[in-house]
Structures are given as C-alpha cells and as structure tokens.
C-alpha cells in the first residue's frame, strides 16, 4: 500500500476535521494577537515606545516566536494522539496485524502529523505577514516590517523555519514514546519551546542557527532509529 494512502487513512481514523477547526481557531487568535501587538500598541510602554529586547523590534520576531510556540505544542498534541495513544490504547496491535510494513505504518503516522502542521504553520504565518504588510499601508506599525513580500528569499526562509519547528516536535514524540505517556510528549514540547524561543534577559537561542540544526539532526536520528527497530521489537 502506498504511503500517501496510509496518510489519508490516518486522517480519516483520527477525525482530521476536528484538527482543521482547531488549527483555524489558533491561527485566528494568533493573527488577532499579532495585530494587537503591531497596530494597537499593547506591547508599548506608556510613553508609546515599543518595549522589546534589542533586535526584537522587528515584526518577524513576535510572529515567528508565537506561531512557533503554538504550533510546536499543537504538533506534539497531535503526535501524542496519533501515535503515543495508539500504543497505549492498543490500536497499534490492530495496525501491526495488517500486511503492511511496520516502518511504513509509523512513517505514515509521523508524516501525517508533519504535513498537516507544516501546512498549518506556513499558512498561518503567510496570512499574518501578508495582512500586516497590507495594514501597514494605512496605519503606522509599532514594529519594523523587516521583510519584503516581493522577494523569494522571504518565502524560502519562512518555509524552512516552519519545517524546522514542526520537525523538532519529533523529539517530544520520542520522549513520549519512551515513557509511554501522552503527557510526557506535551510537557516535552513545552520544554522545547522554552529552550528555543524564550529569552533570558537579552540572551535568546531563538536566533541561533546552530541549535535548530542540531535539534533536527537529533530528532531525525531518533525518528530513523525508532522506525527501524519497530520490526524487531515486541509490541507490548
């Protein structure tokens, strides 16, 4: 059976409509929040100046940070229901009794979540960036609009960043799988958010280019290992 079909079946089984609705709600809330930050001045000091860490006075900083935070957690929640719970409520026993390679089953579940969230995160960011650029024609934003919606590199960067964030949630998945716990999956995703998005004083790892790369390598390594070992391991 081809992978694409398996992914479609994952969506059907897990009632994807519910997730579409939730993702749309999240995207709208994020957009409203960013709009308030940029145009209503809720992050400004009483004197009307923006209260942001140095280097964070550009609009892409809050957009990337908040959308990444929200969708990193959302991805982990989905991974925990698609995969961790499947082990816990034993529907994995059913899946492994089908004439389909176990590696393929796991890969399809991981890809199903990855594709959905990659698309959701990218679209959310795209809409926010485009709307902000449009509104900026009529109203002075508190942040600098540090992007050019006419340039290709803006889109490439946005897509790459989304891919990094969504892939990072695989780390949370492996912690969750190792502990056989949906809660551990979600808690780990919060830790990942703090690790990658938070700033301590003026120090933040969000801008580091090395950390995400390391995390991605680590998470894909784990992904590969756990998918490959599925065939030899007992399903308990």
């Amino acid at each position: 059976m081809d992978l694409f079909k398996l992914i479609k079946l994952e969506y059907r089984k897990n009632n994807i409509g519910k997730y579409v609705r939730n993702a749309v709600i999240l995207a709208l809330l994020l957009a409203a929040f960013i709009f308030a930050l940029a145009f209503l001045g809720i992050a400004n000091d009483p004197d009307g100046k923006l209260d942001a860490a140095p280097g964070n006075n550009v609009l892409s900083a809050p957009v990337e940070m908040f959308t990444s935070m929200v969708f990193l957690i959302f991805t982990s929640v989905m991974l925990s229901t698609f995969i961790v719970s499947a082990y816990k409520n034993k529907t994995m026993i059913l899946m492994f009794s089908y004439p389909i390679k176990r590696q393929k089953i796991l890969a399809s579940q991981m890809l199903a979540v990855w594709i959905f969230n990659f698309a959701a995160l990218t679209l959310t960011k795209l809409i926010i960036y485009l709307c902000a650029a449009a509104v900026a024609h009529f109203r002075e934003p508190s942040f600098l609009l540090d992007y050019n919606i006419g340039s290709v590199s803006f889109y490439v960067q946005m897509i790459l960043k989304s891919a990094v964030i969504v892939s990072m949630s695989f780390i949370a998945l492996f912690i969750g799988l190792a502990m056989k716990s949906s809660k551990a999956t979600i808690v780990s995703s919060f830790l990942l958010v703090f690790l990658t998005q938070a700033n301590v004083g003026d120090y933040t790892m969000a801008d580091s280019a090395v950390l995400p790369v390391v995390l991605i390598v680590v998470s894909l390594g784990f992904a590969f290992l756990s998918v490959c070992s599925a065939e030899k391991k007992d399903l308990i």
Binding site: K5, K13, T91, I93, L94, P99, I100, K101, K232
Partner: protein
C-alpha cells in the same frame, strides 16, 4: 503442506521471566483447534507469537508452510485475528471501523461489510460509534472484523468473553459454518472446556506455560473416556481373572466392589461370562464415560 500452524519448541521470556516454554503445537488445515488452559497459562503469549506481534525467544512458528520472520507481512493478509480483546477506533462507527479494516487489508469486495455485520447481528448498531457499544457488541464486532476478508486462518483469543450463553452458541455455530463452508482453519483459545468441546476437532491443553497434551477429540471419546464398570462381590479375584485369564492390563480397581475396564476391545458380555465362569457374582456391568471436564482437569493438574 502438512499443518496450517506449527510451532516448534516455542519459548518466550520477557525480563528473565519465562512466559511459555517449549510449546509445540500442530493445527491441521480446515480444523477447529481449541487452545485450552486456565487464565495466565500463556495462551495469549503463544497467540501473539503466531500473529507475529511478539518474536519468540527460542523456537519457530510456521504458518501455512512459511516460517515467520520479522518481515513476514504477506502472510497476515490471509489471517484474521483477535488478540487479547478487540480494539477499535472508538469515535468511529462500527461500520466505519470495518471499512477501515478493508482498506488496510487491501480487500475490496462489495457487500462484505454489510454481510459481516449481518452475520453478527450488528446491522442496527452499525452507524453508532463504537464507544457506545457494550462489551458483548464489541466482541461481536471484533469477530465480524476478523472474518470480514474471508481469511484462511482465524486466530481468536477468547472470542466469547463477555457474551451471554445465547451469544456464545451463536458464535460457535458461526465458526462451525465457516469451517464447513469455507474450510477456514480456526485456532481458538478458551479457559472453559464447555465452550469449545462441541466444536473443536483437536484440543491443545496448556498449563503454566507448558503444553500438557494435544489430542484429537475423536481419540478422547474413543480411547480415554469410555470404560466398562463392573460391580462384583470379590474384586481381588475378579482382578486376577481379568489380568490372568483375559490378559487385560488397562483396568482399575476402584473400591471393594467396583472395577473399571478401559480396554474396550473385549465386549461387556464376554467379561461378564468370564467372571461368572470364575465363580464371581457380577452384580452390574455397563459401559460409561468419564466427563471431558474431568479428563481435562486431570491433564491440567498433571502440570502442577
């Protein structure tokens, strides 16, 4: 292809604890094989290895002539199974669960879902989400799913759990029909003999992780259970006559008046005649049989 399922000294240990040891069982094509044993004897462990969910620590499993390996996936297409208890996507309806099963099995035959639901009396509940099903309904839906794609081999782990007596009877009838009409081989486990004694062709008894015996029901009925019970006034002398003059070994002195002869090659009339000739008063003589339950109790106790 001599056997549909054959295990060879199957052993499984997890974390140093041995769950089953040296299980060798043999399931013939087209038969119903009852896998009998008390709870915790290791039935599910063996069934998990037969369906390739667990890998044996020692020994091998052969299904339809093919030895199971890590990558034996194709063979699963020809099997239907329930292991432990049937699991479903609880939010989906019974019908949708069966449709998903067809997709994953790669089985597309029009009307098969409806037919399967009808066979298990689930047509009315078909559209309801599975989370609203009772235990018995889930069990029936599990069987409906296992038989849906017309598998050559059914592996059913205590499939009548949670069913009422009428439901159990219905399942037994269904399995018998599958065997007769489709020549399906059925490997079914149970902790209750009464559940399978009427349908099983062969019974394998497992106790404390070890295979105690594997016998065909026909053999039990003919050889082990039936006996001739004789009531006499002098058992000692009667025993002497049976052993010495009639050359019988397979008999047992029960008490001061009763003897049981398990060797049925000698007709009761002849026994009676021989004893009377030996000046023994025969008060009663007749063919009887031990209950299967007693027989299996004896076999499982033997493992202790």
């Amino acid at each position: 292809m001599p056997y549909i399922i054959q295990t060879n000294k199957l052993t499984k240990s997890i974390g140093g604890r041995q769950l089953v040891t040296d299980i060798s069982l043999h399931v013939k094509k087209g038969e119903i094989y009852g896998f009998l044993g008390p709870n915790g004897a290791g039935k599910t462990t063996v069934m998990k290895m037969i369906t390739n969910l667990w890998k044996p620590t020692e020994g091998t499993v052969e299904i339809m002539g093919e030895q199971l390996r890590n990558d034996s996936y194709g063979i699963l297409k020809r099997m239907g199974s329930i292991i432990e208890f049937p699991v479903f996507y609880e939010g989906l309806s019974g019908e949708d669960n069966l449709k998903l099963h067809c997709e994953y099995m790669g089985f597309y035959q029009k009307g098969s879902v409806e037919n399967s639901l009808k066979l298990l009396d689930l047509t009315e509940a078909a559209k309801k989400p599975v989370k609203e099903y009772s235990l018995g309904m889930k069990q029936r839906l599990g069987i409906a799913r296992a038989i849906l794609s017309g598998p050559e081999l059914l592996v059913l782990d205590e499939p009548t759990n949670g069913l009422d007596p009428a439901g159990m009877k219905q399942i037994r009838e269904l399995l018998r029909r599958l065997k007769e009409e489709n020549e399906t081989t059925i490997f079914i486990s149970s902790h209750m003999l009464s559940e399978i004694e009427n349908i099983a062709d062969t019974v394998g008894v497992i106790s404390r992780g070890r295979m105690q015996r594997e016998v065909s029901m026909k053999d039990i009925a003919e050889k082990n259970l039936a006996f001739i019970e004789i009531s006499v006034n002098d058992v000692k002398r009667a025993a002497y006559i049976l052993a010495d003059r009639m050359n019988l070994q397979n008999f047992k002195v029960l008490d001061e008046h009763k003897i049981r002869v398990y060797d049925l090659s000698v007709p009761a009339g002849e026994l009676s005649k021989a004893l009377t000739l030996g000046k023994i008063e025969v008060e009663a003589i007749g063919r009887q049989s031990e209950s299967l339950e007693d027989y299996f109790m004896k076999v499982t106790e033997g493992g202790r």
